[in-house]
Symmetry: C2
Subunit: 389 residues, 2 copies
Amino acid sequence: MRLTDAVVTTASIRSPIRNAVVGFDEMTVSVVALITDHVRNGERLTGYGFTSNGRYAVTGPLKERFVPRLLHAEPDELLASDGSNFDPERAWQVMMRAEKPGGHGDRAHAVGVLDMALWDLVAKVEGRPLYRVLADRYRGGTADERVFVYAAGGYYAPGKDVAALQDECQSYIDMGFTTVKMKIGGEPLPVDLRRIEGVLAILDRPDQLAVDANARYGREEAREVAAALQPYGLRWYEEPVDPLDYHGLSAVAAEYEGALATGENLFSARDVENLLRFGGLRPDRDILQFDLALSYGVVEYVRILAVLDELGWDRRRCIPHGGHQAAIHAAAGLGLGGNEIYPGVFEPFGLLPDESAVVDGYVRPTEAPGIGFEQIDQLYAVLREAAHS
Amino acid sequence: MRLTDAVVTTASIRSPIRNAVVGFDEMTVSVVALITDHVRNGERLTGYGFTSNGRYAVTGPLKERFVPRLLHAEPDELLASDGSNFDPERAWQVMMRAEKPGGHGDRAHAVGVLDMALWDLVAKVEGRPLYRVLADRYRGGTADERVFVYAAGGYYAPGKDVAALQDECQSYIDMGFTTVKMKIGGEPLPVDLRRIEGVLAILDRPDQLAVDANARYGREEAREVAAALQPYGLRWYEEPVDPLDYHGLSAVAAEYEGALATGENLFSARDVENLLRFGGLRPDRDILQFDLALSYGVVEYVRILAVLDELGWDRRRCIPHGGHQAAIHAAAGLGLGGNEIYPGVFEPFGLLPDESAVVDGYVRPTEAPGIGFEQIDQLYAVLREAAHS
């Protein structure tokens, strides 16, 4: 069993939405198809992966470094010791050969998309859904049957008023979500507070609403906003400061009694360790949002969970960024606290297999072999086209 | 005055050398030529830049994000307010549009190479060497007339014994260097200690020798090696642990009385702040090696120096990684502590304008307009070919 080819393409996920820091009008993702010599149902077994939203396609690192290292490896360097399946941990070592430590940016996304495609292959070879494969390998066989999800939206858009924001959030509740997230930091604080109050008016409880500042604030402003948010009792206050500003985050955490959330812009176990050691976060309440597709994939994510264990954090505190099926499987298989979903945004990459499947704020992972991209028609059409391009 | 074109090419700097962690047999750099409509001496004024060694070419980020943003900007978005010259600080804002915070890896190298080419242009438009332009802009006009440099070598190579290592280091002393650096961590400690003792035998003083572990050691081993190195009184002990392992570095710094050095694998002011706040380094002795070509360029380096000021560090503690002329100009213009040079390695990118110019461990920056790449025949041939490719 060996890889015979890897197809790398770029797909646009451009959108007129904005958070407080960036627009998404140029946004792209990398799509990868890893093709094997293993034939099943008359077709070569193929693993698919794509990068998460927010950080752009990584064509260069994929085509110039990581794909060639995979394809030029001796076939058994990528396989489990009995040769019966691919081994993403061994493939990870091959991909990261001759890479210096540190600098966890675009490179982490490139390895992440290949890791996703490799795990899709591993689970397809086993003929089982990925979450069960991950549970067997990393959690003694215990898998969660359902995964908490929340609806991330509430972006800024031209002409979007509080009523439109309320309608949007109501639509998420109507879909079956129990928790919604909206952006803040893109307008002056009094405007954002009116937006928050507008959404709270349509919810049963204030802890059904999280707010996301996307690292827009400086240190002092982040503390002022924290003080203004405190009385609302929101679910969490996300990325108040720069993702690497552990000193500033500590200052916010020392004063804000509610939950903080961060981590979607940290891409390695080393960075996670620094966040947990120096960022002042509190294991009894704060939320960690590392996105495995952007962070060297499942292999590195397992190392991240080991850091959490070492530093006294429960992995249920992890609710990853990204909104893709691979993260649903990782959440169910590794026992995380949930996953982000972006209804109607970043399609088809953020689609669920069945939009009606959100029940009381939870979804079930697909039972199809692999990650189950094939269960999402609109997404599979894009992936399949990529594989044959 | 405007940019009319940007040429991006890749050059190999492959070499059979190894440090303790990576080989350089696939190593590449990105070369950029920014071409303007400004004609001087019958040619369009062109700015050149290239990435530093160790992190590979960044073709994808350059071609897909940063070069298009520069070329699609309104011309005056890249110019100083009086329109008389390019303004790299304004260009930096243009390049980083729609980029999320955090994730300072390949992206930092791509912006760094464009920043280098922009500063080459700025100094050429002024008709002055870059170090004087930087001194005027950022240091009240005070420039250093000469820059401390040390010879970085002592790599592992097949068949290279202690005698060959001694010959290599003696050749650096003969060139005019006073300080040499060698690799450790690629052999068992007793072997490395014999290599160190071999080099010390040809030097006058032990503080003429620095050793570089390239983040090879785990935490415990790094401390054991520190204890073994302590009696020698070496110039510094570089990258004992992973560049982001601030907890581990603190443990080494708490025990090792000599100087530590690190930072070549940190690429942003945010990462620098974390290193200085949490890494246990000591402002009275330790060395900081941030490489501006890999770290978003001079514009971000100035922010790094502001972090040093805020946290009580003298900028003379900075001796950058990289070994390129842009860093010589930055050292002289911004008042750093020196620069790394790799004699005979990574040519032509690491060449000095005149190899005989090292006197008592110091070089003078070139007085030619710009960075002075045109003064290095072998390098300029590569850059010029790139610009016309």
